[in-house]
Structures are given as C-alpha cells and as structure tokens.
Symmetry: C2
Subunit: 329 residues, 2 copies
C-alpha cells in the first residue's frame, strides 16, 4: 500500500515515518511506498524497507499536492497545519492552510482511484470549556481560538466527505503533546513541555500557572500510536461521527513537577521557579483539561500512561537529540 | 444605517425587504439605504422610505460582493445559499457557495470600516438526532447532509471572526419554514409545505410519512421576525457562542392535517392521501424534530405560534399570490 504523510517533516511526521520504516506496515498491510510532504523537503527515515519520496511544496498548490498523493494512495496522514499561535496572529494564513489546504487534500484524495483513509490531526483547541469542564464524547466544539475553529471546520468537511463515500476519514483530536523537543517559544502552551524539558537539560525555567493547573496531555509515543491505529482501524462502528477524543490524561502542573523530581531528582525540580503570568493564564485557562474519552477506549485506542512513564520515554527517545541540538545552536 | 440582504431575491429575502420598507428601521435605527443582492437582480420592495439598490452577481465574485456591501454597511443579512438538495447533488457547488461564499462575505465585511452585524441563516439541517431527539442549546452539530455541514462550517467561521472583533455575527438555525409558496419540488422536505399548501389551492397531494412524524417548523413571519431581531439585538450576552436555536415548534403531520381541517374544512383535509415513501422517510427521519430553545427564549426571541395561526398567516400573506402564480404557469 501507498502511504502519504502531509507535514512529514515535522516532529510527529518524522516519528511516524520512523515507525513505518521500522515495521514496514500499517495495520497488517505491507507498505510499498511512502511519500513525505512538507514546506521544506523532509528527511527520509533510515532503513525503510520500501521506496520513500520526500517532496516539498505548498498544501494549496494542487500540482504539488497531486504529486504528494499519487494514484493508488491508500492512507493519507494529514498533519500539515499552521499552528495555534501563528493561526491566531494571521487569520488569512490560517484559513488558507488549515481550511483551504484541507479542502485541497480532499480534492487530491478524490483522484487516487479508491477511497483512501485520511487521518486528520484535529486538536483539543477545537473545544472550549476551561479547567472545570469534563468533556463527553458528544461535546460541542466551541473554540476560543482560530486554529481550533479551523480544525473543527476541517473535521466537518472530512466527516461529510466520508458520509458521501469519497474518503474514509478519522479525525484525532490530539491533546497537548509533551514532552516536545526544541526550545521554549512564544506559544501560550510552551511552558507545558518547558517545565519538564528544560530541567532535564539542566536549564532553569519558569512556570506561569499554579500547581493545581490541569492539562490534557499525551506523549509523542501515544500520539504516533493513535494516528497509526486510526490509519488501520475498522471505521464502520464510527458511523457519521468521525471525530475521536483519544484517551489522553489530565495531569496537573504539580503532578508534572513531582514526576520530574521522581525521575530526575530534587535538583531538577528546583530549576523550575514560579512566575505567575496573568496573560498566559487567561489564554490557557480556556482550554479543556479533561475528556471522558469513553468512545475511543471502546474503539481500542490505547490509554496514556502516567507522567513518570512519559518523562522516561522522552529521556529514551528525544533527550540526547535535544541536547545535541541545543549545543549546536 | 446601510443594510444589505444577500440572497435578497429569495422568498425570505423579499419578505425581509418588504418589512424593512414598511418600518424604515432595524431595531430603532433608521435605514438610509438597502442593497438587495442575488444571482438574478432582485425586485425592490414597494414604497421604501430609503434608497434601494438591486444588484446581481455571484457570491464568490469579490468585486460584485464589494459593491453589494459598500463602505459604511452596518447590517448584512446573509441568506444566499445553495439549498439542501442542490448541495447534496453537487458537493463542489455547495462548498463554493455555502463555504467559500461565506468566506467572501467575511472578507467584504472587513472592508466596510466598522464592525458590521452579520445575520447568518444556518439550519436545523446542521444537526442530526432524528425523531427521538430533543436537542439542547449546547447540542453538537453532526450533520447527515452536505448543506448542514457547510452551514456548520460557516457558523464556525463567523463565530471566530466575531471573537476576533472583525464582525459581530449571529447565526440563526432556521427550522423548516412552512407554509412555503411555490410548487412541490424534489426536496425531501417538499411535502411538509405541500400537504398544507396544495389543499388550500384545492389541489390533491400525497404524504410520504405517517401522522406521528414530527417536524421542527416555523412560519415565514416568525423567520423574518427572528432574523431582524438578530440584526438589532445586544450580542454581549452571547459571548463566544453565536449560534441560536430559535423557538420553533414541533408539529406532527397529524397536527398539521387537523389544523388544515379546522381552518379549511374536511374537504381540504380529504385532498391529502397517504403514500408512504421509504426513500423520503430515510432522509427526513434523520432530521431533529425538537429543540429546547431555552437560550433563545431568554434572549428575547419570539415563540412560534400553533399550526392554525400559521395556516391563517399563509392564507393572509401568500395564498392569493401563490394561486395567481399557479394560474399563470
């Protein structure tokens, strides 16, 4: 089978590509070719037992997208997006990539000569609710940010196209993925990874919210697992509803810091100092922090492990590369 | 104030234009100019105490739309749409008009030099649920048809643009509007108006569903009233949530036919014969038939009257014109 990863050069795209190269399969079907597509030419995974094509282009360019999703493509994993801070800063850019780009993906998928599985990365940012909410599987998406609005629109587009039999879509509403490699940035959510990653690098950092602040999180390992599960699952039980709230985990900042201390010692924990920031609190306070995720469990999606496991996974998978990247930059 | 009605040539657009011409105001503000815009040049309302411009053009043409929404426009009533049967028959057409057209409306509104009120006609077709459901105000939109999906996407777009302060939108999810003038057509919902209108014209008709089949309806008078209320209401209490389920009324086919008999006699009732149609039942059976509409009542939206009042309104407002139209055609 042919597989395409849109946004294949990003953090999750590269992890999925590495996983596919390691197993050679999606579900139980052998991969015969993989295309990675991104704005800049993505890196090919090592030792893939199938042909890998790495292409660069814009999601809104039908010719480039047609090349990225060739005839016979069976699975498209659509990770390409303008992320939350950028979509908030530039509405037109967010709509062009996140909405019109997803329309272009749908158009390209209609030319492959079959009904391809499309795995769409939606987000908890498509919901409101705030700290107090426990969101059920039929919770309404009432986003408080443009990125979330565009993701919810993309879900509706792909859900309707699935009902029409044009594609076979599954939208995974990813939690905040931690621990992200890279550096602290201006995203309001930056601190959620930073308060774990920076101390593991031996660096000081600040935390803008209190210890009781809860976040709905998942590890990169779990995100990859969910997206690949969605790529192969039986979609008949989904019916009209193609949106999945996967079983992430609500973890408070206090639990994160306790986990950090358990895994890396009190000297790591001591590198995080409180620096309450009302501006950050105002933004992240609107994000939902807990979902029942009952349907996803029933459908067989794996459940997020605890914060210590999550930290050990980061140390095993990403810490050395993150350290090397910091040393280089 | 300047007012624009997009889709101003249609059934509801013409009724709203007539109402504005009669009162000269929206809320308590005097109208200084009205623009009616549609694919074909709309008819101007009689005796308007303000300038009326009637323009034709395509919603996706920015130049035409810019002329339709001139600088200084304070209210845009956006009724223009590819309706349900057509959007189901042609996905690309529906997306172009119902989604991209609404994006073009947003772009045009950003050029008026203010924050215009945008009243968007969404639809109960944006919900699923079926006969058994009673939908609360926070019910999720999970449409079983492309028209409803496109309307739900349009709501998200306008809600987010309102949050950003670019426009000030209210989306009214209209029930099935009865009694519609015109002729029976191929829309699955055609029978809901036909079983009342045709007998009032002295013509026989058939009913594809049973007497216990419920429909969430409103009269044209109420639809006009709601849309104009939305054009002038204080939107501060809406917060993020710009979607309104107005207080329509669940009426069964049996109640409609009893109302017909009460208003027009047993000979009118006898013109409706049962002709069960599983194909029609399969489509309309998925539509929600009842909403709590609690929020809209609290916000001051008027409540739909009973079926006899609704029939008497049709007789007063539209029967003569409908009869003349039939005689001419």
């Amino acid at each position: 089978m042919l597989v395409t990863i849109l946004g294949g050069g990003g953090f999750l795209g590269q992890k999925i590509a590495a996983q596919l190269a390691a197993t050679g399969t999606v579900g139980r079907r052998a991969i015969t070719g993989l295309t990675l597509f991104d704005l800049n030419t993505p890196k090919a995974p090592a030792k893939a037992p199938f042909e890998v094509r790495c292409l660069s282009g814009d999601l809104s360019d039908p010719v480039a997208l047609g090349a990225a999703i060739p005839k016979g493509t069976a699975v498209v994993i659509h990770l390409a997006a303008v992320v939350s801070a950028a979509a908030e800063a530039d509405l037109e850019l967010g709509l062009r990539v996140n909405l019109l780009g997803t329309m272009a993906v749908l158009a390209a998928c209609q030319k492959v000569g079959g009904v391809p599985r499309v795995v769409f990365t939606s987000s908890v940012a498509s919901f409101g609710g705030g700290q107090a909410a426990l969101l059920a599987d039929d919770a309404r998406q009432l986003p408080g940010n443009s990125y979330g609005a565009q993701k919810a629109m993309g879900e509706l587009l792909l859900q309707d196209a699935s009902r029409r039999g044009l594609i076979d879509a599954v939208s995974i509403r990813l939690p905040t993925v931690i621990v992200r490699p890279g550096r602290p940035n201006k995203a309001a959510s930056s601190f959620v990874s930073a308060i774990l990653r920076e101390p593991l690098l031996g660096l000081p950092t600040t935390c803008p919210v209190g210890d009781d602040f809860g976040v709905w999180v998942c590890s990169p390992r779990r995100a990859v697992e969910w997206l690949l599960y969605a790529a192969a699952m039986d979609t008949a039980p989904l019916g009209l509803d193609r949106g999945i709230n996967p079983p992430g985990r609500r973890i408070t900042v206090g639990e994160m810091l306790a986990g950090l201390e358990a895994v890396a010692g009190p000297q790591a924990r001591a590198l995080v100092t409180a620096a309450p920031d009302p501006a950050v609190q105002a933004i992240v306070g609107g994000w939902p922090a807990e979902f029942t995720a009952t349907r996803a469990r029933t459908l067989g999606f794996s459940v997020q492990e605890d914060v210590e496991s999550l930290l050990r996974a980061f140390i095993a998978d990403d810490l050395a590369a993150t350290r090397a990247d910091r040393a280089a930059g």
